[in-house]
């Protein structure tokens, strides 16, 4: 799967190929998955949400291996932070309202309910506008000629079934390569591909990890190679 890029007009006059400079480090995703035992993942075939979640989980598990990318948990952490803050505000307010007599408790209960509303709305807005379809965000640092940081963001959605077409899983990858801790941009790429869920799941609902991983690896590596 790894292809070498020709950097400068490469052939020397006597036909031997010239120096091929690989401009950035290779990634071999499938190699990282060799030899690892996987449990069979089984889902309910008829439930589109379960199918998508199983695929998303497989993407996360594939890309988050130590040799590949290290996961950036920002979206999850913000959702957890806002969510649990809201829960504590809610329980605190309810407990306070329970302990203190109604008329006296009103100002603080108002404050609590409004604060909870703000946290919930913020969380919803964040998920809708900032996070959207994102499934995985990761980065890796490699040492080629200099320390390069590569950042990858994977998002997915389900393309619903049409008359003759099965429902499809659409994977989008966006990639940025930079050096000097983000100050110089070396390259970026975007790519998207979709496959029917039927290519990955059998009649029992078991996910074919090999096939799925190979496809995801192909999409990601493709995006990372483009300048």
């Amino acid at each position: 799967m790894a292809r070498k890029k020709q950097a400068n007009g490469s052939s020397t006059p006597d036909g031997t190929p010239g120096v091929v400079a690989t401009n950035h480090p290779r990634i071999d995703i499938m190699a990282a998955t060799n030899g690892i035992e996987r449990e069979v993942i089984k889902v309910n075939n008829a439930n589109l949400t379960e199918l998508k979640n199983a695929c998303d989980d497989a993407v996360k598990t594939l890309l988050s291996r130590k040799e590949l990318f290290s996961t950036i948990h920002t979206h999850t952490d913000i959702r957890l932070g806002l969510g649990w803050a809201g829960v504590f505000v809610a329980f605190g307010t309810a407990f306070y309202g329970y302990k203190v007599e109604f008329e006296k408790s009103k100002p603080i209960v108002w404050a609590g309910v409004i604060l909870y509303g703000i946290l919930t709305v913020t969380q919803a807005l964040y998920a809708y506008f900032v996070e959207r379809d994102t499934v995985y965000v990761g980065k890796r640092k490699t040492l080629a000629k200099r320390i390069e940081t590569e950042r990858i963001s994977v998002s997915s959605r389900t393309v619903p079934a049409k008359r003759e077409d099965p429902p499809r899983y659409s994977l989008s990858v966006s990639y940025v390569r930079s050096a000097n801790s983000g100050k110089s941009l070396l390259g970026r790429g975007k790519g998207t591909d979709q496959r029917g869920y039927n290519e990955f799941f059998d009649e029992e609902g078991a996910l074919d990890q090999e096939v799925f991983d190979r496809w995801v690896a192909g999409v990601v590596e493709n995006v990372m190679e483009e300048k």
Binding site: T49, N53, T76, W84, V87, A90, F102, V109
Partner: protein, 186 residues
């Protein structure tokens, strides 16, 4: 039964467990906040109550759900159906107002007639008025009133009555809901 879920949990790690727990907790939290918010909007600590006795038949039967509000600017009138709580007794009582008196106060600026109302109530289906229930008070004051009945739904309250009489039902329901929230994923 939980094998698949435990496998997923182990595979996806600690953050995932927190997320699933958050799903469950936020369902409860939003329920609590909606209840408290409704109470604030209607100005009563218990905007929805269940009729427990038959003392208001044929208007309300045991198991009916009542919707209450507590308007601060309107005085209560004879004929209003109120829910009140006597200090010292835990159970709210749903009865009709049969007499109201306004206290005449010398200082007309500070005491509004609305807050100094004295009320006498009686259940439609009872023979005598509620004096015996007042535990020594001669009149009900506004501060004892939880709210005035604005509307009702028949039969729906039986769920609450059943859960109070059979606490196992309550725990089973809560446990079932919790299980569903933890297992499912958005």
């Amino acid at each position: 039964m939980f094998e698949e879920e435990l496998k997923t949990l182990r595979r996806l790690g600690f953050r995932y467990a927190l997320l699933q727990a958050l799903n469950f907790a936020s369902v409860i939290a939003s329920g609590l906040m909606m209840w408290k918010g409704l109470g604030l909007l209607t100005n009563t600590e218990s905007p929805i109550v269940v009729v427990l006795s038959g003392s208001m038949e044929p208007a309300f039967y045991r198991g009916d759900l009542l919707f209450l509000t507590n308007p601060t600017s309107e005085p209560y009138r004879t004929g209003d159906i109120t829910v009140y709580k006597i200090p010292g007794a835990d159970i709210p009582i749903v009865h009709r107002v049969i007499e109201t008196h306004e206290a005449v106060s010398k200082d007309r600026v500070s005491a509004s007639p609305v807050s100094k109302q004295y009320l006498l109530t009686k259940g439609d289906n009872n023979y005598a008025d509620d004096i015996e229930l007042y535990q020594g008070l001669e009149w009900l004051e506004r501060k004892h009133i939880v709210g005035k009945v604005r509307g009702f739904l028949p039969y729906v309250g039986y769920v609450t009555i059943a859960m109070n009489d059979f606490p196992q039902l309550k725990y089973a329901l809560l446990g079932g809901l919790g299980l569903m929230a933890l297992i499912q994923r958005e």
